[in-house]
């Protein structure tokens, strides 16, 4: 089975939403700023619930935030 990585567009989406800070996003999602930082740096894969919450904050579909890239 091919392996892949989860990439995300959170940094770009934050920039497009009035340069939203990590803390603001964290408060809206209900996680800590450190978790948003880890997700953004692709060092932590969030649960489906948190992924959907992030997409909801940016008013986009989950595929526009997270993508699974097969290497």
């Amino acid at each position: 089975m091919k392996t892949g990585t989860i990439v995300n567009q959170i940094r770009m989406l934050r920039f497009n939403h009035g340069e939203m800070t990590q803390q603001e996003l964290a408060d809206n999602v209900g996680v800590t700023r450190q978790t948003i930082n880890a997700i953004e740096a692709a060092k932590y894969s969030p649960s489906l619930e948190v992924a959907f919450k992030i997409a909801t904050v940016f008013e986009v579909s989950i595929e526009e935030v997270f993508k699974y890239k097969i290497s």
Partner: protein, 152 residues
Amino acid sequence: MENIMSKQELYAWSSLGMTLSIFVFYILIAFGWPEGVPDYSSTAVKVFFNLFWIAFIIEIFLDASENKKGVDKDERDLMIEARGFKNAYNFLSSLIAILIVQVLVSKIITGMNEWFTILSKPSFVLHALFVLLLLSSLIRRSTQLYYYRKDY
């Protein structure tokens, strides 16, 4: 801003400091300073006494402080906590199993060797259990800190 620690990470650091201090105090009280090594016991006591109080004050402060806007603990903290508990549990359960076998073996062959008599004494088993508890707590906190620091 990027590297400011979360509340849970600060908890892990303060708890590690407190447990380490208690561990050193216990070893010094129960077994004394090792022979053949220059005696720095008073310095060690001073250092770990200060470490204990600093960690204690940080923990009190963290308990008292409330995060009004955000959350203090989320799914990532819980996942890291679970990894810490897993490692601590594996360490503790395997070493307790070894301790039980050791007690049983030393009871059987107690007359053969003086060393086995010492190992089967209840005071030795109690010391060993307490040291294992402290070590497992150190492993738990160290694992948590490893995963928190790994992200940066």
